[in-house]
Structures are given as structure tokens and as C-alpha cells.
Amino acid sequence: MMDAQLIPDLLIQGVQMTSVLVLAPLLTGLVRIVKARLQRRRGPPLWQPYRDLRRLLGKEVVLAENASWLFRAAPYLIFAVTWVAAALIPTFATGLLFSWSGDLIAITALLGSARFMLALAGMDIGTSFGGIGSSREVMIASLAEPAMLMIVITVALVAGSTQLSTIAVVMATHHVGLRVSLALALIAFIIVALAENARIPVDNPATHLELTMVHEAMVLEYSGRHLAMIDLAAFLKLSLYVSLIWCMFCPFGMAQGDWAQSGWGIGYYLLAMPIYLAKLAVGGVLLGVLEVSIAKMRVFRVPNFLGAAFMLGLLGVLLLFVSQGM
């Protein structure tokens, strides 16, 4: 690794890490505004999530009397793990400096670590709401995570790699074409993404005090800066999944690693950034439209929904094992 190359590489990696962090609340704000407009409400302004975070960060934390160290450490760990996972995803450029330190399986597992911590934090106070949230979260995860891994394997078999940068390059430049297995994987991935981000029809991010809530029940005892960290992690996770869809299934308009050496230099990155913003916006609008057009499911229909994603993923993998061209 040449030193002359190291500085710009570090810089681009830094821009990527900061940009996912800064843009994440914006995406959530966009989804909220789209949903509100479609329901003929005015809705909160686009930057409301930033305001919420600032308000929460400034407040004091009210801890339950029997909260343990785990309850206080979990928000920072959840945030850190989610951020690291988001940093590993090529958003506007492939071949980032640290992209090889974890592949798609590692990203899935990192999100699993965040969920593990959150589910434990939900059980720490010993209230029935925390328990119900954690219990349902792990039930949903026990199907969503294997479905996600099946999708990962499908994509990895097509691209011949589990490394996201390589996957993006293969999907964008080689002649992959339309494949049945990838179509199945895309449908499955959308289902998984809805479940993982606690969106309708699996969970409702806008409710409190409702027995169907999952994510909100787990974080019910959190307040102040702790809640801000958890909210920020949730924003990050949403933008991570939207970026992941684009990166795996439609990685066009990304700055490739070798573009920088071709003499164009920074120009490509400046071009790739607005494209990434547009991709996020499209994802946000589609999510908003989807959320207002369907109803929330009963909690015990969720396993069928996710089971379908798991089966679609498995079908994609089997097709690829049977024939490389599918």
C-alpha cells in the first residue's frame, strides 16, 4: 500500500462513514414526510429527526432503579456496531480502504450483535413490556436472519464473492443479466428489510402503547442520550438497508476503485455522491408509499411472511446450485 494512495483512501473512507451518519436521520425524515403527505397531513419537517436527536441528547437520563451497567452500556455499543456495519457498505464508491475487513456475512452478523444487545437491554429492567418486545424481536430475527443469509449466499454465488465491493463491481460491469435467483433474492430482501427495520407490516414505528409493538417495547425504558443513541442506530440501520439494496441489486453510478487512478481523480466521487443521494431518496419514497398502502399484520402472521422470504432465498440458492445460469 503506497503512502501517496493512503491519504486519499483514508479521506474517502472518512467521508463515507460521516456521510452515512449524517444522512441517516434525513432518510427517516423523508419517509415520515412522504407518509404524512400521502395521508393528507402536513407532517413534521424534513429535519425533525435531527431536532429530536438534539433534544434527547440535551435531556437528563431517567434510569429505572434496578438498571444495570448493561442497560447503560448497550446504547453506545448498539450504535457503534451499527455504524461499523454501515461503514463497511460501499455507498457511493467501491473498494473503500477498510471494506475488506468485513464481508456481507460479517455485516449481517454485526447487525445481529446489535440486536442481541438491544434484546438483552429490553429484559434488563424486568418489566413485561421489555420482555414482550425482546421475545418477539428474537422470534422475528430467528427467521429474518437466516433469510438474509440465504440472500447473501444467492448473491455471493452469482458474483463469486461475499465481498460487497466485488459484488457491486461484478453486478455493475459484468454481464450478469436478469436472473430468476436474483429476482427471488430481491423480493426476499425487501421483506427482510421491512422486518429488520420494524416497518409496517411487521411492526409500526409510529406507535406507543400498543400490544403489537416490538421495537418500541424494547426501548420503552430508555430516555435522554441513551434513547438518542438507539434512535440514531435505528436511522442508520434503515439507511444501511436501503444502501444495501442498491449496492447488491443495482450498483450503477458508483465510483469504482480504479476510476481514481484513471486521471479523473476526485471528479468521479463528486459525481457519485449526488447519485447516492438520489438512490436514498428513491428508496425512502418507495418505502413511504409501501407503508401507507398496506396494513399491519397480526404478530403471528409475521412468521409466515418471513418464512416466505426464507423459502424464496433458499429457492434462489438451490436454483444456483442446480444451474449456474439461473
Partner: protein
């Protein structure tokens, strides 16, 4: 290096004899267990040295490729004692595979002995435990270094019997006698199948040494029969479904340090036996045997974790997770066999390394978790999670190390469990172009089952940790628990540190294992430790890479920086108040989620199919003051469809044959005579 290993075994046997004499004294604890720990450390060192010797020899062969076919690794040492069968003696041999498993026995034995120095003080009947622990360790070591069938089977039975004695240590407790009985039957069954397998391997010329077996060429049908027998014999010891039934009974019945040894080490010795016979003695496998191993592994991993989810006894839950992890190891072994059968040596080396890595990992974190459950048992006297809760406040150190163990076994990065499962996934996506249809279907199906079991394991350990250590104490003993002694804590901290180290420096473990795959299949994974930033790259960098160290540093740094920034620039005030609970907090501890209620959604989703589970809710009519009731019914498919019919058949035959017990002496003599005639006839017809 074989002589020191043999001396260690002799020392352990001597300690066992000494233990018989002094176990009644109060100080026996402080004499036998430290001595055991020292001998185990020596075993660990011997294993490492023999691996190192093989490592240098493989490096040597790697630089001199023309040596190739005639390579006799310099790390192999042999020893022959004039005991056992007169014409072959007792043969011992230490090669890379044996060295790797010696490391495991040494590590597990040393940590269990260290733990037992403290834990053993609470033992009510030390004379039933202390003499058998060194014998158990000696038996396991002998299995690993045995180099002929006789020595192997003798060591195997020594291991089984000494562990049976330890299972029966608290024989008056409810259920333990039954556990010991079932264990004994399954151990005898396993020994019998291995006896038959070695009989077929040795053939009519009675070549019982492993060298003679390796040299012999057996017809494919015989190899097939041997494979099935070995699968049953070693599988029942390791705990594959449906031969696992003894495991969740016997492992929890023993004292906790012995549970750790049985789950963490003895099941691995069974894996060793499988690898030794199938990979080393039988050589290149056929593809259908790979399919058998893959199917058994996949089913075992998911069934094990589902059983664990239904469980609320902490030690039984851990025992069922041993079943799950054995399944994951068998998936890795099956992949290695599938690739090896098709001549894909690089993939086979990757899959076998993944399996061996998981063997090591499981040994470490399962010992850690059993130590933790033993600490809980010491502090509260409870194994039932429904009677625990809130222990994180009373036992903060145990809670921390137990949490590390839970995260490691749930395959969460940056800990070690993730690395081995990651390697297994890499092996699964490696070769979709398998020629055989059986493999085309079973490999992706195993990928799905592995993914499912990993996710369910995380759910199960949220339950295990959340219900026992978090929340509010459900009973008085849990509310008055106290932290355990320094010896136990040290043992747990050491293992937790190994979980983290093996997770952030996986390259070191992979490189240490490379002589094993090299010796067995003539291929090994590329050297990892000379990569930049200590990342691991199984095949090629463009294909996949993982860097546990960087991930760990990133997580630690960003969490720390964020916490610092928030406390510095935003708010650092906090205050304590009653729990919010949506405005209606209930002081009763029974309003918390229990282990059963936590697993209810998963029981409903998966249990209805697998266990035929159902819930019956009885609601009293309005005005009736009776309490509402919910009953759950769960069926054990393995027990009800396999063991209960066999047991019924045995009883029926016994009833039917009962008349034979009341015959006259003349009739018995007639029986003997007829049997003799029949045998002579068979012999005459045979020739």
C-alpha cells in the same frame, strides 16, 4: 514428544489412585486439582509443540514441493509398550491431529481443574468426584494418542466409565440415576459399534495397529459398513440427533466442572475418533458418505437448538446447545468430505479447518458457560432459570464472563464463534458446481439449516442470559446470591479472554491447524498470519476476507468516542426513578417474562411442527373465581418415535423369554449342546 504425553497419562492415573486414598480429607481438593491443572498444562504444551514441529515440517515441504508424495512429517513420534495384545503391544502415536486434540484436552482440563479448586469446596461427596476426574482426563488423552484398535477401545471405555462414575456422583438426586442408566446403555452401544467397526477394519488377518489398517485395502461395501458403524459409534458419543438423548440427561447431572469437561472436551474426543477413522484410516471418502454426514449435521444443529429453546434448566439448555454445535461441526466435516471426494482439496482444507476451528471454539465457550452455570448453582442453589433473575447485580463478574460466552456461542462478531461459522459459510458458497445431485441439494440445505440454527442460538442465549442474569430476582436465593471465589473467576476470565483472542486473531488459529489438514488430506489453507492488518482470507482477497481485530477496534473506538463526546458535549446528568413500564409498573416479580413465556412465540412457530407442541387455555366462566390456566404440551420426537418403541420391544422380548429363567439343568445343557452344534455347522458351511 510421545514419551512426555505417556508420562502425563501415567501421572494422571497415579493422581486418580492418590485421590482414592485422600479424597476423604478436606484438603484433597487443594492437592489433586492443582496437580491435575499442572499436568493438563503440560499436555497443552506437548500438543502445541507437536503441532509446531509439524508446522515447521509442512512449511519445509511447502518450500520443497518435489518432496511431495513421500513426505513423512517430522512431527510424528511413536511409542510401543509391552502391554495389551501380546503380538502388537500397546501403541501410541502423536501426530498433528492428535496434537491438536491434546491442546484441547489440556486447555479444557487445566481450566476445569482450576475452576474445581474453588468449586469443589462445595462438593458434598468429594470421594465420589475427586478420584474419577484424573482418570477421566487420562482416558481422553489415551484415546487421542492410541495407535492401535485395542488401545483405542480400552481408552474409549475408560473414558466412558470414569465419566459415568462422575455422572453418578450425586446419585441420590432426582433423575440422576436414570441419567446414569441411559448414559451407560448408550456408552455400551457406542463401544459395541466401534468394536465391530475395528473388527471389520482389521479384517481376518487381525492387523489391529493403525498402520496396518491404513495399509490395508478394503472393498467399498466393507468401507460403507464401517463408515455407518463409525458414524453411529462416534455420533452417539458426540451427541448427534437422534442418538443424543443421553447427553442432556448426563451432562447436567455431573458436577459443573465435569459437565464442562464432558460437553467441552469429551464430545470433541468423539469428533477426534470420527476424523481419525474416517479421514485418516479410511482415506478418501465416497460422496454418499458426505451426504450422510451433511444431513445428520444439519438436522442435529437445528434440532439441538430447538430443544434448547424449550428448556428452562440452565445446564440442560447448555447441554442441548452442545448437540447443536456438534451438528455445526459435522456440517463442516461433511463439506470437507464432499470436496475431498470430488478432489477439490483447497475447499476440503477450508471446510476441515472450519470444523476444527469450531471444535476449538465450542470447547472454550461451552466450558466457560458451564463454569458460569456452576457459579450460579453455587451462589443460589438453583439450575432452574424460572427461579433466577437479577444476578447481574449480585454477581457482576460472573455475569460479564457469562455474557462473553453467550455472545461467542451465538456467533456474534468480533468473538470466536463467528469466525468458525463464517469459514463454514465460505465453504458452502465455494463450489456450487458439484457433480452429484445428493450434494447439490444437501449443501445448500445445510446452509439454510446452519443459518437457522445460528439465529435460533442467538435467541436462545438472549433467553438464557436475560432470564437468569437480568430483570428482577424471582426468588429469595437469587436475591441473596453472592459472587463466587477467585479460582472459579480466574478460570472463567481466562476462557473469556481466549474467546476474544481467537476472535480477533483467527489467523493464528487457522495457521496452527494447517498441519492437521496437511497431514490428513495433503492440503492446507493459505498462511494467514503474514497478511496485512492480520485479516483472514480463506481463498482470495476478492472473494472474501474478514478482519476481527479491525472490527473489534472500530467498535471499541467508536463506542468509546461516542460515549465520551455525548458526555462531554451533550448531557451527563442522570437520575434514578421507578421503572416506567407505560405508567403502570407492577411491583410483583411474576409480571416479568419467564423463560417459558420468552420462548412462547418460537415454540408456537417451530415447536408445533417439530415437537407437536400445543397450549391449552382454560378460562373460568364469568363469575367463577377459579384461576385461569394455561398448559403446554411438548413431545420429544426422538424419544417417542425411536427409543420408546425399542424399549417396549426389549421389555416384550424379555417378558417372552422369561420362561427361560425357570428351566431344569438338563434343558440348559441341551441348549448349550444345540448352540455348539449350530456354531460348528456354521463354521463348516463357512469353509
Amino acid at each position: 514428544m510421545i514419551e512426555p504425553a505417556a508420562y502425563c497419562v501415567a501421572l494422571l492415573l497415579a493422581l486418580s489412585a492418590l485421590g482414592v486414598c485422600i479424597a476423604r480429607f478436606r484438603r484433597a481438593n487443594y492437592m489433586i486439582y492443582p496437580a491435575c491443572a499442572l499436568v493438563c498444562v503440560a499436555l497443552l504444551a506437548i500438543g502445541l509443540v507437536s503441532l509446531g514441529a509439524s508446522l515447521t515440517s509442512t512449511a519445509f515441504h511447502a518450500t520443497l514441493p518435489w518432496v511431495g508424495a513421500v513426505s513423512l512429517p517430522t512431527g510424528v513420534t511413536q511409542l510401543r509398550l509391552p502391554l495389551g495384545l501380546p503380538w502388537i503391544g500397546v501403541n501410541f502415536r502423536l501426530d498433528a491431529l492428535a496434537g491438536a486434540f491434546l491442546v484441547l484436552i489440556g486447555l479444557g482440563g487445566a481450566s476445569a481443574s482450576l475452576y474445581a479448586i474453588g468449586y469443589g469446596r462445595h462438593e458434598t461427596e468429594p470421594a465420589r468426584v475427586i478420584p474419577f476426574v484424573p482418570a477421566f482426563l487420562a482416558g481422553m488423552t489415551l484415546v487421542v494418542i492410541a495407535d492401535d484398535a485395542f488401545a483405542f477401545l480400552f481408552a474409549w471405555e475408560l473414558m466412558s466409565l470414569s465419566s459415568w462414575a462422575l455422572v453418578m456422583a450425586h446419585h441420590r438426586d432426582e433423575g440422576n440415576a436414570h441419567a446414569g442408566y441411559v448414559y451407560l446403555i448408550m456408552a455400551v452401544f457406542s463401544g459395541l459399534t466401534l468394536l465391530l467397526a475395528f473388527g471389520l477394519l482389521a479384517g481376518p488377518s487381525a492387523g489391529f495397529t493403525f498402520a496396518a489398517i491404513r495399509a490395508a485395502h478394503l472393498p467399498p461395501v466393507t468401507v460403507g459398513i464401517i463408515f455407518v458403524l463409525v458414524m453411529i459409534g462416534t455420533g452417539s458419543k458426540a451427541g448427534v440427533v437422534p442418538l443424543h438423548v443421553w447427553l442432556p440427561l448426563a451432562h447436567p447431572a455431573a458436577p459443573s466442572h465435569v459437565s464442562a469437561l464432558m460437553s467441552g472436551v469429551m464430545t470433541k474426543v468423539a469428533i477426534y475418533a470420527f476424523i481419525r477413522i474416517v479421514f485418516d484410516l479410511l482415506g478418501v471418502p465416497s460422496w454418499w458418505s458426505a451426504v450422510v454426514v451433511l444431513v445428520v449435521g444439519g438436522v442435529t444443529s437445528v434440532m439441538g437448538v430447538l430443544y434448547a429453546l424449550m428448556e428452562h434448566d440452565l445446564k440442560r439448555l447448555l447441554a442441548y446447545h452442545t448437540v447443536e454445535n456438534i451438528g455445526i461441526i459435522f456440517i463442516g466435516l461433511g463439506l470437507a468430505m464432499a470436496f475431498w471426494a470430488n478432489g477439490l482439496l483447497a475447499g476440503a482444507a477450508l471446510a476441515l479447518t472450519a470444523a476444527l476451528f469450531h471444535v476449538f471454539n465450542h470447547s472454550v465457550f461451552k466450558s466457560l458457560l458451564f463454569f458460569g452455570s456452576g457459579a450460579v448453582l453455587t451462589a443460589t442453589g438453583e439450575r432452574d432459570m424460572e427461579h433466577l433473575g437479577g444476578l447481574i447485580h449480585r454477581m457482576p463478574q460472573t455475569a460479564f464472563v457469562f455474557l462473553v460466552g453467550c455472545a461467542a456461542i451465538s456467533a456474534l462478531p468480533p468473538l470466536n464463534g463467528f469466525v468458525s461459522e463464517w469459514l463454514t459459510f465460505q465453504a458452502i458458497v465455494l463450489h456450487p458446481e458439484m457433480p452429484q445431485w445428493g450434494l447439490k441439494i444437501s449443501i445448500p440445505a445445510d446452509g439454510a439449516l446452519l443459518a437457522l440454527s445460528a439465529a435460533l442460538a442467538a435467541a436462545c442465549f438472549v433467553k438464557a442470559f436475560g432470564v437468569s442474569f437480568l430483570g428482577r430476582p424471582r426468588t429469595q436465593p437469587a436475591a441473596q446470591a453472592h459472587e463466587v471465589d477467585g479460582f472459579s473467576l480466574t478460570a472463567m476470565y481466562v476462557l473469556a479472554a481466549i474467546c476474544l483472542l481467537a476472535g480477533v486473531l483467527p489467523g493464528a488459529v487457522i495457521d496452527t491447524l494447517s498441519p492437521v489438514t496437511q497431514a490428513l488430506m495433503g492440503a492446507h489453507m493459505p498462511t494467514q498470519m503474514d497478511r496485512a492488518w492480520l485479516s483472514i482470507v480463506p481463498i482470495a482477497e476478492a472473494r472474501s476476507s474478514y478482519d476481527g481485530l479491525l472490527i473489534f477496534l472500530f467498535i471499541a473506538a467508536s463506542a468509546w468516542i461516542m460515549a465520551l463526546a455525548v458526555h462531554r458535549f451533550a448531557s451527563r446528568r442522570s437520575r434514578r426513578s421507578p421503572a416506567w413500564d407505560c405508567g403502570f409498573p407492577d411491583p410483583s416479580v411474576d409480571t416479568q417474562y419467564t423463560a417459558a413465556s420468552f420462548a412462547q412465540p418460537i415454540r408456537r412457530v417451530f415447536g408445533a411442527v417439530v415437537f407437536g407442541s400445543r397450549e391449552v387455555v382454560t378460562m373460568p366462566l364469568p363469575g367463577d373465581m377459579a384461576a385461569a390456566q394455561i398448559e403446554k404440551h411438548i413431545h420429544d420426537p426422538a424419544w417417542e418415535t425411536l427409543y420408546a418403541p425399542i424399549g417396549a420391544a426389549v421389555t416384550a422380548i424379555a417378558d417372552w423369554m422369561n420362561v427361560l429363567q425357570f428351566l431344569t439343568i438338563r434343558r440348559y445343557l441341551a441348549f448349550v449342546f444345540v448352540a455348539l452344534i449350530l456354531l460348528l455347522l456354521v463354521l463348516a458351511l463357512w469353509q
